[in-house]
Every structure is written in structure tokens, then in C-alpha cells.
Symmetry: C3
């Protein structure tokens, strides 16, 4: 049954989904590293046990603080979760709904590009409407895939 | 192999999963729009570049504030993430575990109904235990599906 | 087609994925119950309608407050979301990419173990680097699975 199972990855639209889903998830995971980087360089921690390495008792307490750069990365990370989770679920079902390969590729490429742009727009930050627009494009692509899924699978 | 691939969507329990998963994900995505709506109408932003359109320098700073309605929608959104992510993963595996169609439909319908109720209970807000109960029903449905998945797939 | 569909769960690597994915999702869901437990015992609520059962008007307002234990559980929950969502998506694709059964089991077991350890490290809390290390191990396992997925499925 191994051959049957891996046939999913013989399908080009599914392979494209696998590739782009993995890329956007790795991009989202990168946000954890960027948060950690800013926490260490800005010396801004939230857990006492994390600040403990920088000093003892009262002297460590001053590192328990919020930092604007850290908070900005965390907002970007949460926005990724809010938008990449729908892409993961709807995109998987879309890839299984028998889309045109070229149409599927267009959806996946635009979504991934929009989310990468969104990250740069958030972290640099770029003036609006850069972030708003890149967010809206990823959102619209997900809604378009959802429409195809519902049209193909509809069973209430 | 396209025919083999799309056979997943020939299965009625899987089609029901695809339909309900897409519906709850679209409902979750709606929270982003509601948040944006309240941020704009309440003039309550968190990023300086977002408030910049409302004024320059000091006059824009007064719009960098938290608003109770915005925060309420954001809590509803996070609660969706915490509960819809388990449904997505466990529900997919459940749909692949060969459930009775009518049992599967019952699980999916109750989950989707409970999460939609939860959103109304959170945003209006309705007095407790409306929100608590709708949360608990969705939670129990997910645990019930997890039990079926573990019974069918168990391989540690 | 039911037979074809459930063939996914005939594959041992896929069954292992189903088992471990369900376990880590149930573990994540447990965080909601722990949060609720601390909110009730610490009398620390965020929604006025939740505090209403403890008193009326002004007397209920004093229970609208943040509590360090509640916040700690919530950070653990969010960290789960940030790390278990990538495992869900990448792990599913990895299980479909035809991995060695023993290699796949090793990945899933280490990930699940690391995330359970992470929860204990966060909630007790254990001194660092316990939490940092368990986080990093789960992260590395996910990156390793992502590498296999991209090598097998690559289609840009």
C-alpha cells in the first residue's frame, strides 16, 4: 500500500501544495527565532527564569519588560498563525479537489509571496498600505480556494 | 493518478469534513475583518504606521490605544485558533478512519454549530454560561473524534 | 471507495502520524482546561460576564485582573500553537512522503516527548535551559521533516 499512499505526491498540484505549505510554515517558524533574537539583544523577557541568566534577584527583574521590537515580531507571528492555518486546511482540501495545475500554482505562489511580503512590511516596517495590502491578497487567495473546495465537496 | 487522488472527495464523510472544515475556517477568518472594523471605527491601533493616516506626529499617537471591543474580538479569534486547529487535525484523521457517515455528520455539525454560537456569545456578549457551554460542546466533540482516531490508528 | 480511503490508515507511518498528532493536539487542548482552572482558583478573569458569577457590579470588577499563573499557562498554550501547527502540516506531508517507518517513528516520538517536556518546563517552571532546550528539539525535528518533504515533493 506504500505505492498507493505516495501516489498523493505523484500528483503535481499536491506536490506544489506540499512545497508551498512547507515554505510558509518554515517562514512562520522563523518568527520564533526572530523573537528570541530581539528578546536577547533588547534584554526584554517575560519569564523570570529567562531573565535569571542576566543577573540575580532584583538585578534580573529589570529585564522583565516589554520591548516594542519584540512585540512587533510577536504580532507578525500571531498574524501568520491566523492566516497560515486557514491556508493549510483550505489549501490541502483545494489540492485534493482536482484543480488545474496552473491555477493551483498561481494560488499557492501568490499566497506565499504575499505572506513573505507581509513579514517584511511588518518588521521593517513599511508604510501602509503595504502590510494591509499583502494581508488582503493572501486572504483573497484563501477565500478563492475555499470557494472551489465548497463547490467541489459541498456536503452539509 | 488524478482520478485516484480525487477519490478522497468521492467519499461522503470526507466531503462532509471538507465542507465543515472550510466553513469554520472562513468563520475564523471573519474575525480578522471584525477586528479591522472595530480598529477603524473605534480608532484604536497598535502599530504607529496604521494610525499615521489619522494624523501626523503627536496627533496620531492618541490613536495608539487598546479598546475593549477590539480586545474582545481578538480574544474570540485566539479562542478560535485554539479550538479550530485541533478540529482541523483530528477531524481530518477522523474522516480518514472510516466513521459512519451519520455519526461523522453529527460530529461536524455540532462542532460547527457550537463554534458559531461561541462567536455570537463572545461578541454580543451573551451572559454566561452561553460562551462556556458552546466552548465545551466543541471541545467534547473534538475529544470524541480523537478517541475514534486513536482506537483506529493506534501505533505508538 | 471506502476501502481505498482507509488505506491511508493501513500504512504504518501514517498511523504513527495519526497517533502522535492526536496526542500532541489533546495535550494542547489540555492547556485550555488548565487556564480555566487557574482563572477560577485565582479569581482572575478578563471578561466581565465571566466575573459576574462572583459578585455584582463593583464587587465583581476586582476579579477582572491578570494573574501571573494564568498568564504563564496562556504563554505555554500560544507556544504550543506556534509549534504544533507546523508539526501538524509538515508531519502530515512527511508521513505521505514515504519515510522509513523507524525514522518516522523517531521523529514523531522525539517531537511529542519534547513538547510534553516543554509544558512541564513552562508550568512548574523548571530553570532554563529546560524549556529552551525542549522547544529547540521539537523545532529541529520539524525542520528535519520539512527537509524530507521538500526533497520529495519539490515543485515550485
Amino acid at each position: 500500500e506504500m505505492a498507493k499512499l505516495t501516489q498523493l505526491l505523484d500528483n503535481e498540484a499536491f506536490r506544489a501544495y506540499a512545497t508551498y505549505a512547507t515554505i510558509v510554515l518554515l517562514k512562520m517558524m522563523l518568527m520564533s527565532l526572530i523573537t528570541a533574537y530581539f528578546r536577547v539583544t533588547r534584554k526584554a523577557f517575560v519569564n523570570p527564569e529567562d531573565a535569571a541568566s542576566l543577573g540575580k534577584g532584583e538585578s534580573a527583574k529589570k529585564y522583565l519588560r516589554t520591548d516594542q521590537d519584540v512585540e512587533r515580531v510577536r504580532r507578525g507571528h500571531l498574524n501568520d498563525l491566523e492566516n497560515i492555518v486557514p491556508f493549510l486546511g483550505i489549501g490541502l482540501l483545494y489540492a485534493l479537489s482536482g484543480p488545474d495545475l496552473s491555477t493551483a500554482l498561481m494560488h499557492f505562489r501568490i499566497f506565499a509571496g504575499a505572506r513573505i511580503l507581509h513579514t517584511f512590511a511588518y518588521l521593517i516596517p513599511l508604510p501602509q498600505p503595504s502590510r494591509g495590502l499583502s494581508w488582503a491578497i493572501g486572504y483573497a487567495v484563501t477565500v478563492s480556494m475555499a470557494y472551489k473546495v465548497l463547490k467541489t465537496a459541498w456536503y452539509l
